[in-house]
Amino acid sequence: MTRWHVASRVLAAVAGGYAVSTVAGVGLVQALPLPRADAVMAGVLSTYLVYGAAVVWCFGARTARHAWLGLLITGAFFAALGVLGGSVRS
C-alpha cells in the first residue's frame, strides 16, 4: 500500500465521489416521475447519500483500482437512468 494508492483513493473519494453524486442527482431528476421542481428537490437531497456511500466505498474497496471502477459503474448506471428516464418523459 503506497502513498500513491492512498492519494488515488482520496482523489476518487473527493472528486470522483462529487462527480458521481452530481450525475446521480441529475439522473434521478430525469428518471423520477414527478413535477420538475419536485424532481430536482428529490435529486439534490439524494446526492449526499450517494456522496457518503461513494466515499465509504472508495476506502473500503480492496484496491484503488476497484474504488475507481465502482465509481465508474455507479456513474454509468445513473447516467443511463437519466437518459432512459429523459426519453420516457419526452
Partner: protein, 536 residues
C-alpha cells in the same frame, strides 16, 4: 486497504474526523447554543422589561403596525415577528430603508409593550450572532464559510458512517463505560455519546448539509433549469408569493384582526411566526403570514392576503413528496417546533454531539501517547501540536464563549462597535487559550484551562448581579425562567468544569503514585487499568 473493511473504516474515521475536528467542535457547540438563542438574547439585553408582558399576537401586530407607520411609512416592505410562546417574548419589527449614501439597509427594533417604543438596549450580537457563528464562521466571507462548513459537515457524515461500520460491538457495547482506564475510557465515552445519540448526529449533519444544498449541488439544479434558472426553480419549488409592484394609489390596510382570525381558523392558536407587509399603504399591498412551527414538517405554511381588501388570495400548508422531506430536515435541524422539554433535549443532545467530537480529538492523542509511553519516547511534533490544539479548543472555546458573555456585561454601553467587540472578545479569548499550551506543559494547560473555565462560568451570575438588576434574586421570584435559566446553566457549567478539573487532578495523582511503585510493576500508561486503591 489491508486488514479488511473494519480497519480501512477505522482509518477513514480517523482521517476524516481529525483534520476538521476543531471546526466541527466549534460548529456543534455554537450551533447547540442556538437552541436557546432567544433566552441568550434576553440575557444579553438586560434593559428589556422583566418579565415580558403577556401580549397576544394580535396585540403585538397592532403595536408593530403603529410603530412602523411612524418610522417606516415609505418602506417597501415591513416584517413583524409577533410574540409567540417562550421563543419570542417581545415584538420585533424590521424594515428596509437606505442609508445616507443610498445603499440599502435593514433596520430592526424590539418593542416595549407598555410604551410601544423600542427598547433602548445595549448594542449586542446576542444569541443570534452566537448561533449564526456555526455557519458564518464570522471573519470569513459568507461563500467561503459556507463551503468550509459544508466540507467539514460532509466529512462529519463520512466519519459517522465509517465510525458505525468500524465499531465492532456496537450492540454489545451499547451500555459500556469503563472509567479510569485512560484511553479505553475515552473510547467508551466517545462510543456512548456517539451511539446513543446517533439518530440526532446523523439527522443534524445531513440536514445541515441540506441548508446550502443549492450551493453545494448547484450543477444538479443547473442541469435542469439552466445556469441562470436558479430563481425560477426557487419560485416553482417554494411557491414564493407573487408580489405585484405598487400602483401608487394609497389605500389603508384592511383591519388586521380579520386576517389574523382567518389564520387562527386554519392554523390554530398563535399561528403567525412572521407577518410580512409588502407595499404597505398602497392599493397593491400584500400581507403574508408564515406559519408557526408546530411540528417538524409544518414549517413553511403560508397565507397571502390582499392588504387593501383583506381577501385571502392564497393559502398553502401541506407540501408533497420531496418538499416535505426538505422541510422536515430543515425543521428538525432548527428545532423551532420544540417546546421547553424538547428544546432541552435538543440542547443536551447537541452537547453530546460536541462531547463526541471533543472525545474523538482527545482519543487520537491519547492513543498515540499510550503507544509511545512504554518506550518512554516523547511524542512527535505533530502529536504535540494536535494535543495543543485540543486543549486550546475543547476547553478554550467554551472559555471564549464565556468571554462573549463577560464582554456583554463589561464593555461600556456607549462604546463604538460594541457588538463587534463582543465577538472579538470570544475569538481573542479562544486565541489566548490556544496559545496557552505552548507556554505550559500540556497537562498543566488542561488544568489551567479547566479551572479558568470553571471560574468564568461560575462567576457569570455574580457578574450579572453586580452589573444589572436582573440577577437570580430577582429573576427566580419573578418567574423569569429564561433569564434565571441562563444564570443557572452558567453555574452548572462552571460546576461541571470544576468537577472535570478535580477528576483530572485525581487521575494524575494516581498515575504519579503508580509510577513511584517499585521496579517490576508496569508503569501506568493510558491503556492499562489503574489499581483501584491508587485511583481513589
Amino acid at each position: 486497504m489491508k486488514g479488511g473493511l473494519r480497519q480501512s473504516m477505522a482509518w477513514l474515521h480517523t482521517w476524516a474526523g481529525l483534520p476538521v475536528g476543531w471546526v466541527l467542535y466549534f460548529v456543534f457547540l455554537t450551533g447547540t447554543l442556538g437552541y436557546f438563542d432567544s433566552e441568550i438574547d434576553q440575557w444579553m439585553r438586560p434593559e428589556a422589561s422583566l418579565p415580558p408582558p403577556a401580549l397576544s399576537q394580535v396585540e403585538g401586530l397592532a403595536l408593530a403596525l403603529a410603530r412602523l407607520e411612524q418610522v417606516a411609512a415609505r418602506a417597501p416592505r415591513w416584517t413583524v415577528f409577533p410574540p409567540s410562546g417562550h421563543d419570542v417574548p417581545h415584538v420585533t419589527i424590521s424594515w428596509s430603508t437606505v442609508d445616507a449614501s443610498g445603499r440599502p439597509l435593514r433596520r430592526s427594533e424590539t418593542l416595549d409593550a407598555t410604551t410601544g417604543a423600542p427598547f433602548r438596549t445595549r448594542a449586542t450580537g446576542g444569541g443570534q450572532t452566537l448561533y449564526q457563528l456555526h455557519y458564518t464562521l464570522h471573519y470569513l466571507p459568507s461563500a467561503t464559510a459556507r463551503w468550509l462548513v459544508g466540507i467539514c459537515s460532509m466529512l462529519m457524515l463520512v466519519a459517522l458512517v465509517s465510525g458505525v461500520i468500524t465499531h465492532k460491538k456496537i450492540l454489545a457495547d451499547f451500555f459500556t463505560f469503563r472509567p479510569r482506564q485512560g484511553q479505553r475510557s475515552w473510547l467508551d465515552i466517545h462510543n456512548l455519546v456517539g451511539v446513543t445519540a446517533l439518530p440526532f448526529h446523523l439527522v443534524i449533519t445531513y440536514s445541515g448539509l441540506v441548508f446550502f444544498v443549492f450551493t453545494y449541488m448547484a450543477p444538479v439544479v443547473d442541469a435542469t433549469y439552466g445556469r441562470d434558472g436558479r430563481d425560477r426553480f426557487f419560485d416553482e419549488a417554494f411557491r414564493n408569493p407573487d408580489i405585484p409592484p405598487p400602483v401608487g394609489a394609497p389605500a389603508p390596510l384592511a383591519p388586521l384582526v380579520s386576517l389574523y382570525d382567518e389564520a387562527v381558523r386554519h392554523w390554530g392558536e398563535e399561528p403567525v411566526r412572521v407577518a410580512s407587509f409588502y407595499n404597505p399603504g398602497d392599493r397593491n399591498a400584500r400581507v403574508v403570514f408564515t406559519r408557526t412551527h408546530v411540528d417538524p414538517v409544518s414549517n413553511g405554511g403560508r397565507m397571502v392576503f390582499d392588504g387593501a381588501t383583506g381577501e385571502l388570495l392564497d393559502r398553502f400548508d401541506r407540501r408533497t413528496g420531496p418538499m416535505v422531506v426538505n422541510h422536515a430536515l430543515l425543521g428538525l435541524h432548527e428545532g423551532l417546533f420544540a417546546g421547553p422539554v424538547l428544546r432541552w433535549l435538543y440542547f443536551l443532545t447537541g452537547l453530546l454531539g460536541t462531547a463526541m467530537i471533543g472525545t474523538g480529538l482527545v482519543l487520537w492523542t491519547a492513543k498515540r501517547k499510550a503507544k509511545l509511553a512504554p518506550a518512554g519516547g516523547t511524542p512527535p511534533a505533530a502529536v504535540r501540536v494536535i494535543e495543543h490544539l485540543n486543549v486550546g479548543t475543547v476547553v478554550g472555546l467554551p472559555i471564549g464563549i464565556a468571554a462573549y458573555f463577560w464582554a456583554n456585561r463589561l464593555l461600556p454601553v456607549g462604546m463604538a462597535d460594541r457588538a463587534a467587540w463582543e465577538v472579538h472578545a470570544l475569538f481573542l479569548a479562544w486565541l489566548a487559550m490556544l496559545a496557552l499550551p505552548w507556554l505550559r506543559p500540556p497537562d498543566r494547560a488542561w488544568h489551567d484551562s479547566l479551572r479558568l473555565a470553571a471560574c468564568a462560568y461560575a462567576a457569570l451570575p455574580v457578574l450579572n448581579a453586580l452589573t444589572t438588576d436582573q440577577h437570580l434574586g430577582v429573576t427566580i421570584p419573578a418567574g423569569a425562567w429564561a433569564l434565571a435559566g441562563f444564570d443557572l446553566v452558567s453555574l452548572a457549567t462552571g460546576l461541571g468544569f470544576g468537577v472535570a478539573a478535580v477528576v483530572l487532578r485525581r487521575q494524575e495523582v494516581a498515575v504519579a503514585a503508580a509510577e513511584r511503585l517499585p521496579d517490576g510493576m508496569p508503569a501506568v500508561s493510558g491503556a492499562t487499568p489503574l489499581p483501584e486503591d491508587a485511583a481513589g
